[in-house]
Amino acid sequence: MIETRRFTVSGQGETGPARAEARVSIRNLSKTYRTRRGAHVALDNVSLDIGASEFVVLLGPSGCGKTTLLRCVAGLEEPDAGEILINGQLVFSSEKGISVPPEKRPFNMVFQSYALWPHMTVQDNVAYPLRNAGRAVRAARESAGEALRLVGLGDYLAAYPGQLSGGQQQRVALARAIVSGDGLILFDEPLSNLDAKVRERLRLELLGLQSRIGFAAIYVTHDQVEALALADRIAVMDVGRIEQVGTSDEIYDAPRSRYVSDFVGSANELPGRIVSVGETVVVDTPMGRMEGGFGGEPVAVGADAWVMFRPEHCQFDFEPGCDGENRLDGEVLRSLYLGASMQHVVGSEDRQIVVTRTGGGPLEPGTDVTVCCPVGRVRIFPGDTGR
């Protein structure tokens, strides 16, 4: 179902035939909020394409503009510049003065607060989009019933939203979004008000629904686990910009900036200076010499750089398979039990790295250990290290 693996980074325009197959095309979108406190750039020249039945997650820290981008696609917010196409139709263009109102755009939306109408039954809530599309009461109610059965709420047709649990309410919102079959659903942190268990279950159900019905989704979250689990592609956002777009494993294993590497998953970070650049890059760090590859732009020998690698890619030298070239010596400071895994903090008081191992017990604090990390897993980013 995922046919597109292309992506555009902010600023780079998309050309040619790609346009036709995209469900949503966002081009050079900018938006600035002007308040009494001053201007705030919420979106800065953002471009992104979403395939016909692709699940794209917008991931980023609070306040980076995810909701703003989503609401611009919805038509609930008006960008200052740029273009938005849905199904190849121009729904917004600042240049041509086009701004199609939300009710005329082919999509539906699931809100963080569920936004169910408390004065209507669950069935009427779901039937509402169909009634607006001109469907007769009976037929609309029937389709609503089917949609509700699909999300497992067939027994609650006559209930009022206030009588349902949070998880059930979000299912109703989901049914309301899929019922009219628009082919595009926008989600703004739909699971963030639910507890962890319900969230996991709904995540699976959502994926099941998507593969069954086949809609495109733009899904906003600041939860990286959710993003990695759901996404065909993830767009990682920094303040107002899209930092990187890629599949979950691309984002996780090949982050192209320190920001993405740091934001998605956890990362060990060591400052250093580049000593040689060849097939691999060698960097001197306070904990020892490290070898890896450039994550972002390559830089010359002598430049400051950050070395980044993930805790779960590290091993201790007393374990089998530790044949990586990178070896870091340190002292175990403490070990934390995390259930499925064990986290060991290694280093000196002022410079530490974390090693995550599944299995094995805690290590005695004070033990001298050697940590190794495969060269292929080490990514080097140019940047000021403050030295």
């Binding site: 086009i98 009710e103 607006n132």
Partner: protein, 581 residues
């Protein structure tokens, strides 16, 4: 859509504005049209027309007020007004803020009484309350005075009059103050609710006594609210008509609103001086508003944040009961006693303090409700106008508040338009309406239409505030969810927002209705024998000395008002339950 010519339209702000206008739905345009009609047609037009047509008289009137025949009376009238307004406002601010503080910050929380307090002036329309007090405290035949004389008669003082006389400056001040308390109470308790008690607790922790905390911390923090309530009291005091109209003649104290009325209703009408005084009134009020803006600088509200604080309350100990007792006493003064007085007088064939159970009769009620043309027609007119005005205003302001959303320049502009009438004394509206609408092209003086228009202007601020609070409690996402479900603007309004805001809108409707039915000022100016309304007929009957009938009629409107206010409490409480559960 791709048919749009690429080259012709550039991304200039002008073309964006035009695009925006084209996208504005007809419904939005209609709403702006109605707003414009109210602010231009019903405020600007009367004022300007009155000024233009009376331009000659204005100069003459000014001369006559400053150096001419009126110049001897006017300073006294102005002085009286200042005394009454200052006295009444001071009284109201002291009582109102003390009660608000007791309810919000002490353990003497007033419960149901606290809920009724701000509604006191709605439960008993001030005109009914004043008449009630007049029949209680008339020096000779006042029922309460008679009762007090009877109490002290064993002492052998042989009083023939008093001990109280309501027809005095003091009587005027106290009665006016009594019916200003609810406004102060509302403003002050809202401010206290928003003030984080931790600020006060910090002061207590640092060793300040409760009293010192109140004076040094609480009071400065709510100073803006205090200024606002003083202003509110002063504005309503300046234009208050019912109290001086009922008591002023007996007390030989003329205040400006009554004086203006007299200038217009005496023969020959002196329109010039009346207009000059009305304009003066308008200018004074506007200057007070500007002064408030300048005095209350931004940032003084810094201590006021968030909502829903639950701080420890100041313990009053045994004094708690005294405070509660005072709150109840206030309700007794504004509602219970006047109603009792009205009841006793209305059941008698003629007003006498010596009540004879054998002669009690319902004749007066039969007279005002069925027999007398003027009263029957006045009741019918007032009710009809109340329904029409409340429905119209709530529809308009409700649609505006719901449709224009919570934020944005459009809503702010609409709010300032609907808030405008509150800054114009009713007397000014009355004068401007008389002068502007008794000539072509809109000769509607003497019809119910002119009353309808006047009431619409005068109550639209109440309506807008009620509608805003009803609409703003609805989360924006509920409306947006409807829009993304492909509902048109109107359908979103009708199917989603309106049903959700309905309890608040009903409460607002009731408030506007009650205000309209109990309105006296514009009624005195604009109503006559062809278009009688309750306020006007009450005043006429009072001046002609038909006291039992006045009492009966005042009781009837009190009954209507209090029933509706009770209904309002019920509706809003139920709505609260629904949203909480």
């Amino acid at each position: 859509m791709s048919a749009i010519d690429h080259g012709a339209v550039s991304g200039t702000s002008l073309s964006r504005l035009r695009a925006r206008l084209q996208r504005t739905s007809p419904f939005t345009l209609l709403l702006w049209g109605v707003l414009l009609f109210i602010s231009v047609g019903l405020i600007l037009y009367p004022l300007v027309t009155a000024l233009v047509y009376e331009a000659g008289n204005v100069a003459e009137g000014f001369m006559s007020l400053t150096t001419g025949e009126l110049s001897r009376r006017v300073p006294e009238v102005i002085l009286n007004t200042v005394i009454v307004v200052a006295g009444a406002t001071a009284l109201a601010v002291v009582i109102g803020s003390a009660l608000a503080w007791a309810n919000e910050r002490s353990d003497a929380s007033l419960g149901f009484v606290g809920q009724l307090l701000p509604l006191a002036a709605l439960i008993v329309p001030p005109i009914a309350g004043v008449i009630g007090w007049a029949v209680l405290l008339d020096p000779r035949v006042g029922l309460l005075n008679y009762f007090l004389r009877w109490l002290v008669s064993p002492l052998g003082l042989g009083l023939r009059e008093g001990p109280f006389n309501i027809y005095t400056m003091t009587g005027l001040i106290v009665t006016t103050g009594l019916y200003t308390v609810p406004y102060v109470y509302l403003v002050m308790s809202a401010a206290l609710q928003r003030l984080d008690p931790s600020v006060e607790e910090a002061s207590r922790v640092n060793g300040a006594s409760p009293l010192r905390t109140m004076l040094r911390v609480t009071f400065p923090a709510i100073k803006p609210a205090l200024a606002a309530s003083i202003l509110l009291g002063a504005i309503s005091g300046i234009s208050l008509f019912s109290v001086p109209a009922v008591l002023g003649a007996g007390a030989r104290v003329d205040v400006i609103s009554v004086y203006i009325y007299r200038l217009l209703s005496d023969y020959p009408a002196q329109t010039g001086p009346a207009l000059v005084l009305a304009l003066g009134m308008l200018i004074v009020v506007q200057m007070m508003l500007i002064g408030q803006h300048l005095l209350v600088k931004k940032g003084q509200n810094a201590a006021i944040s968030g909502r829903g604080f639950r701080g420890t309350k100041v313990r009053l100990g045994g004094f708690r009961h005294v405070v509660r007792g005072l709150a109840v006493f206030y309700l007794v003064l504004t509602a219970v006693l006047p109603i009792l007085g009205l009841l006793l007088v209305s059941l008698q064939p003629f007003w006498t303090p010596a009540i004879n159970v054998a002669t009690l009769t319902l004749d007066n009620f039969r007279f005002v409700l069925f027999e007398n043309n003027q009263t029957v027609e006045a009741l019918r007119n007032s009710m009809g106008l109340g329904v029409a005005v409340a429905t119209f205003n709530m529809l308009v302001t409700g649609a505006i508040a719901l449709h224009l959303g919570k934020h944005g320049a459009a809503r702010r502009f609409a709010d300032s338009l609907t808030g405008l009438p509150a800054t114009i004394p009713h007397t000014v509206i009355g004068v401007a309406f008389i002068l502007a609408f008794s000539r072509e092209p809109l000769r509607i003086y003497g019809t119910t239409a002119i009353l309808l228009l006047a009431y619409v202007v005068m109550t639209i601020t109440y309506a807008a505030r009620a509608a805003a609070s009803a609409a703003d409690s609805i989360s924006a996402e509920l409306g947006e969810a409807s829009r993304v479900s492909k509902a048109s603007d109107f359908r979103t309004l009708w199917r989603i927002l309106l049903p959700l805001a309905l309890p608040g809108l009903v409460a607002g409707w009731i408030m506007v209705f009650v205000h309209t039915v109990g309105e006296v000022t514009a009624s005195a100016f604009l109503s006559g024998t062809h278009n009688p309304v309750i306020g006007r007929v009450l005043l006429d009957f009072w001046n002609f000395g038909n006291f039992p009938q006045v009492a009966a009629m005042a009781l009837v409107i009190t009954l209507i008002s209090s029933t509706l206010v009770g209904l309002m409490l019920f509706v809003t409480r139920r709505a609260h339950k629904v949203t909480v559960s």
